[in-house]
Amino acid sequence: MNPFQFTRVTTPKAAISAVTKESGTYFLAGGTNLIDLMKREVIVPERLVDINKLPLATIEKTSTGLRIGAMAKNSTVAEHELVKKNFPLLSQALNAGASAQLRNMATVGGNMMQRTRCSYFYDNSMPCNKRSPVQAGPDKGQPNGPNGCGAIGGYNRMHAIFGTSEKCIAVHPSDMCIALVALDATVNVSGPKGDRKIPFADFHRLPGDAPQKDNTLQPGELIMSIDLPMNDFAKNSHYLKVRDRASYAFALVSVGVGVDMKGKTIQNVRLAMGGVAHKPWRLTEAEQFLTGKPATEDNFKQAAMLAMKGAKGYGENDFKLTLAPNSIVEALKIATTTA
């Protein structure tokens, strides 16, 4: 690993100040992704600001729902009584990700900030616009290896089918974030220009011409907490993760579902998919179609068809064009039959 300067902070203000002051400075939370990327020299920070001692790990009830501190560990959130009771989808999604050890280390904020696992991004000798952005425009980053996209026309079995660009077809890797986008979470951030709230669906971005940018955070901004509004989805929630092995693997496709049922009728529904796009993929059109309709397989299939509009395969990932709608139907079946 390349040498770097190391600073430990105990207040968010000091953290923001330290990361704003000089470029090449990164926050260090659980480190499960950043340290790995540093070992592979995909990211070569000049300075790390250790934020593990920040008092941002509390999980508390609010007047509108639940607030989860950005430094709460993934395992703590997954096991928390209020999360399991009111937001089982989040608990399920967290437990579907990584391993027990990694969940003990990884934080909520860090989980949101994790980078894609695209193998071209991870290999400095391969072309990648995310790792080595084209040197143009205001968002230019430091070059690191050749640019281009190796995955387009290359090995792209794990890659995106929605929202891609000719610069990048990588997928966002988180399970937790699929649950959070489905549950209408809000991200509270603090930065050099003050505090602001970001709707979870607007936190991550599509690659477009700047795949080096995974999200809409401004320089120096620190994730403080996540707000979850109360809902009526707890009884009929399911996180379905389809992967190459039964545990400890990234999703080929995943579906997060929360349904508010009245008898056999869907009163309200939330649907999001993972493993298919550069950001957690909310299925708004399918949700609208299902609202007020009976929970039948035929309706699920029609909703899945609507959700697949605009999907595009890149060769090795063409199977996702079938796997994704089937997974949506399966997840809806399971969620609506849960007692």
Binding site: Q5, T7, A14, A18, N52, S99, A100, N104
Partner: protein, 211 residues
């Protein structure tokens, strides 16, 4: 004014690197107070940022019950600190990328991958490795169970498996073989001793011994 001495008052001084100090000190003072790498760099006229990157920082951490006062480079992982500096080679380096679990240790009672943990982030923590699990010459019940059930072949993943297995029971995720398999999935065994490992964990769990 204190502001002059600490140009960035919002920066936290606890555990901060010594670059502000280097900026303001004469080389003589640097000789007296900074570790050799930084001094050499300053002496040779290297840029201060280069110097401070090789600087060693102090770390206080308790390992297997012994309080340690150490000086390390910030880039040293907990795994390398244990193996290379403290000669605690029971904790194994498998993939070194958080994928195999061979380096599993407990930090403040929870299991983590030591290979992805910067040692500096364990300041003030209590670390337990496989060497700290037995009570003197008396093996931990999980160690006994791994022997009884033949929970290993080559043995390389075993320290990580055992540390993970102990945590698995403590976390309350060892109620049945399926649950054990799920919560032990972060520990890879290329010899394929999985079924015996599950038997060992079930045995300890059902035996009701304190882990």
């Amino acid at each position: 004014m204190t502001d002059k001495q600490h140009p960035d008052e919002s920066a936290d001084n606890s555990g901060a690197s010594r670059r502000d100090f280097l900026k303001q000190s004469s080389i003589m003072a640097a000789f007296a107070m900074t570790p050799p790498a930084a001094v050499t760099a300053v002496e040779k006229g290297l840029h201060e940022t280069i110097a401070t990157r090789f600087e060693q920082m102090s770390l206080r951490v308790t390992i297997n019950g012994t309080a340690q006062q150490l000086n390390i480079e910030p880039r040293v992982t907990l795994l390398d600190l244990l193996r290379e500096q403290l000669n605690l080679t029971g904790t194994k380096k498998g993939c070194d990328h958080g994928q195999c679990g061979a380096c599993t240790v407990h930090v403040d009672g929870t299991r983590v991958n030591a290979c992805l943990t910067l040692a500096m982030t364990t300041e003030g923590c209590k670390v337990t490795t496989i060497e700290g699990l037995a009570d003197g010459d008396r093996l931990h019940p999980m160690q006994e169970a791994f022997i009884k059930h033949d929970g290993f072949q080559c043995g390389y993943c075993t320290p990580g498996q055992i540390m993970s297995a102990v945590a698995c029971i403590r976390e309350g995720h060892a109620d049945n073989p399926d649950e054990i398999r799920e919560y032990m999935s972060g520990n890879i065994c290329r010899c394929g001793a999985y079924s015996n490992i599950v038997d060992a964990i079930m045995d300890v769990k059902q035996g009701g011994q304190k882990v």
